[in-house]
């Protein structure tokens, strides 16, 4: 008992010295990461409080403007085919896109992290089997699988209700993205776990008699947390892309439109062939900016971690 406590203490100190906080500080020194973090914060802000920024979400009945107006002083981003203000729609879309993206990423990380740590720590047959499954998911056209799974899941869940203010149609999308995109996270976490397993502090914990689950929770997990954060940010970007594609095809929720849903509306309103570029520009740029910013942050953390490893050796 006391021995395990002292092991914990030593890893905790080690963490203080080379932990996530230092990476965060180093991150803020890079100008590209600084801009990216600023953009993501702004987007998050509009996702948190869209009502205070642009008022309540406009619907077909509350829209007041004419259809397909190009950008002007009163409608900065123009209006859509129902006369809704695109600035209003895009800011409200931020909430849906970010929440669905973040939740999907969370599920992806839990599944991928769990499977990766178990496979890496247990090794042997468990590892071989789990990685076989992960490789399959890595190769397969998981997007097509998501396309099939989403409506099936919806038919199974049945009636349209809300959980914590998120409609179940969106939750099925979250579940489907989580289920289909965990494999690369599992691969990364597994390789990290493999090298951690041989480190002395894990060996010591094993000698002290800690159970595998406890070693994974107390000694492996804290050491892959930063890697998981770096991967998580990239996964969020991927989830937002997947969500927008699924919504574009028509699997989104018309009552809680995300950026992809708006673009889907633009497609069915034939905006490209009408030359209504503003209908396409605002939500699309929002997706692009978010994904680029997340990718830049993720890559920057990765580079810093790489350098960290090189310095330690």
């Amino acid at each position: 008992m006391s021995a395990s406590a002292s092991v914990n203490l030593s890893t905790r100190i080690r963490k203080r010295v080379s932990g996530g906080n230092r990476i965060a500080l180093l991150l803020l020194r890079r100008w590209d990461a600084r801009i990216a973090i600023m953009i993501v914060s702004l987007l998050t802000l509009s996702g948190v409080a869209p009502e205070t920024l642009v008022g309540p979400l406009q619907t077909a009945t509350t829209a007041t403007a004419d259809a397909l107006l190009p950008p002007s002083g009163t409608h900065l981003f123009g209006t859509d085919d129902l006369g809704r203000d695109l600035l209003n729609l895009t800011v409200h879309g931020a909430r849906i896109s970010l929440v669905v993206g973040a939740l999907s990423a969370a599920i992806t990380l839990v599944i991928g992290g769990g499977i990766g740590m178990i496979a890496g720590y247990r090794g042997g047959r468990v590892d071989a089997l789990l990685m076989r499954v992960a490789d399959t998911f890595l190769i397969l056209p998981t997007f097509v699988l998501a396309l099939i799974l989403a409506p099936i899941l919806r038919e199974l869940i049945g009636d349209q209700t809300e959980i914590f203010g998120i409609r179940t149609t969106l939750l099925t999308i979250v579940a489907v993205i989580g289920f289909t995109s965990w494999s690369s996270t599992a691969r990364i976490v597994r390789s990290q776990t493999l090298s951690l397993r041989e480190r002395t502090f894990v060996e010591r914990a094993r000698l002290v008699g800690l159970s595998p689950m406890r070693i994974i929770a107390r000694h492996i997990f804290p050491n892959i947390r930063t890697v998981l954060v770096a991967n998580g940010i990239v996964v969020i970007a991927g989830s937002i892309l997947t969500e927008s594609t699924l919504s574009f095809i028509g699997l989104g929720d018309p009552f809680q439109p995300s950026w992809g849903t708006i673009l889907g509306n633009a497609q069915s309103a034939a905006a490209p062939s009408l030359g209504a570029w503003w209908f396409i520009a605002a939500p699309g740029c929002a997706i692009l900016i978010t994904v680029v910013a997340c990718t830049i942050i993720g890559n920057a953390i990765d580079e810093l971690l790489d350098r960290d490893v090189r310095v330690q050796r």
Binding site: R132, V133, D135, T136, L138, I139, L140, P141, T142, F143, V144, L145, L147, I148, L149, P151, I152, E155, L156, A237, L241, S244, T245, F248, I249, G250, L251, G260, L263, A266, Q267, A271, P272, S273, L274, G275, A276, W277, I280, G284, I287, L288, V291, V292, T295, I296
Partner: protein, 327 residues
């Protein structure tokens, strides 16, 4: 000896993956409300005898496990994918079969163009690592990489078809258009924007990957040797760096096949291109699950094959792989 075992392992892996896809498809088939034969039940033109025959063939009169699973795998291996709901009970294989060509045309050409351009861009930026050209090129690649395919397609239509009027907005051919050579030109004019969309969407990731592997190769000893020999930059890049740096790109191109196809499906929707993507969307709207599963199965098998091919190619290019030295 080792090489043969490596090959057998790869083959076994591919077969295992396909079996897993079959299992996944089977589970999905049974998860759905209603029986798999409801596509037939909805169609008044299907006789009771034909329905009974299908039920027996799919083993629906027997328990789910293992009889139905075995019957399903057997039927699928024989090319029996079931019947489409939307297309009046037509066989899934025949509905899907006629959509493969158009999809293959735009995905194939798009991929080839993207590989060529991505390799060129990646080599150029990797060689100039850290300089201004690299910064701009890499940011451009990142932006292309982050764009949803369908959005890129919509932008291209707005610019090149609607505003400039250079190319048609959608479809595969002009209705009632000419045949022969003029027809082929018409087809190419319609295919140009979809192909450009897929190519542009893909260039980014190939360029990013090749850039980092070129930049890594620059630190290798053999590059220093080549420099010391007095070789010109272009010779070093072409003869010494690229052959090594290209290897990961081969793998990525194959690994990505599934992802590319997913993106291509949405491109077809934007351009009303009558391929698997448009079929998928129609099937999704009418909840035509047999078609969806047929598409998933077909794409999965093609992707697994592409990966197997890439593995073989990789082992040709890099003997260390098949002899188990590179780990």
């Amino acid at each position: 000896m080792k090489a043969r075992r490596w090959l057998l392992g790869r083959l076994g892996g591919a077969i295992a993956t396909i079996l897993m896809v079959l299992l996944l498809n089977f589970v999905l088939f049974r998860l759905m409300p209603g029986s798999p034969d409801r596509a037939l039940a909805r169609n008044p033109r299907v006789s009771a005898a034909a329905m009974e025959a299908a039920r027996v063939r799919w083993g629906l009169d027997k328990p789910i496990f293992p009889d139905q699973l075995i019957a399903y795998v057997g039927a699928t291996l024989k090319g029996d994918f079931g019947y489409s709901v939307k297309y009046g009970g037509r066989e899934v294989t025949s509905v899907i079969g006629e959509k493969i060509g158009p999809t293959l045309l735009i995905v194939g050409l798009g991929e080839i163009i993207a590989l060529a351009a991505g390799i060129a861009l990646g080599a150029w930026t990797g060689w100039r690592r850290g300089r201004f050209g690299d910064r701009v090129g890499t940011l451009g690649a990142l932006i292309l990489y982050s764009m949803p395919y369908f959005w890129l397609g919509m932008l291209l239509i707005t610019l090149f078809a609607t505003t400039l009027g250079w190319l048609p907005t959608s479809g595969i051919s002009t209705p009632g258009g000419p045949g022969g050579i003029e027809g082929a030109i018409d087809l190419l004019r319609h295919a140009a924007l979809p192909i450009a969309t897929i190519a542009l969407g893909l260039i980014g990731q190939y360029a990013i990957l090749l850039r980092s592997s070129v930049a890594e190769s620059l630190r290798e000893g053999y590059v220093l040797t080549a420099r010391a020999k007095g070789l010109r930059d272009e010779r070093i890049l072409r003869g010494h760096i690229l052959p090594n740096a290209l290897l990961p790109t081969v793998t990525l191109a194959a690994l990505n096949a599934g992802y590319v196809i997913g993106g291509a499906l949405t491109v077809e929707i934007v351009f009303s291109w009558p391929g698997l993507g448009l079929l998928t969307q129609e099937a999704l709207q009418s909840r035509d699950y047999p078609i969806l599963q047929g598409v998933f199965l077909l794409l999965s098998v093609s992707v697994v094959m592409a990966n197997l091919l890439a593995d073989l190619l990789y082992s040709r290019l890099d003997p260390r792989v098949r002899h188990g030295a590179a780990r």
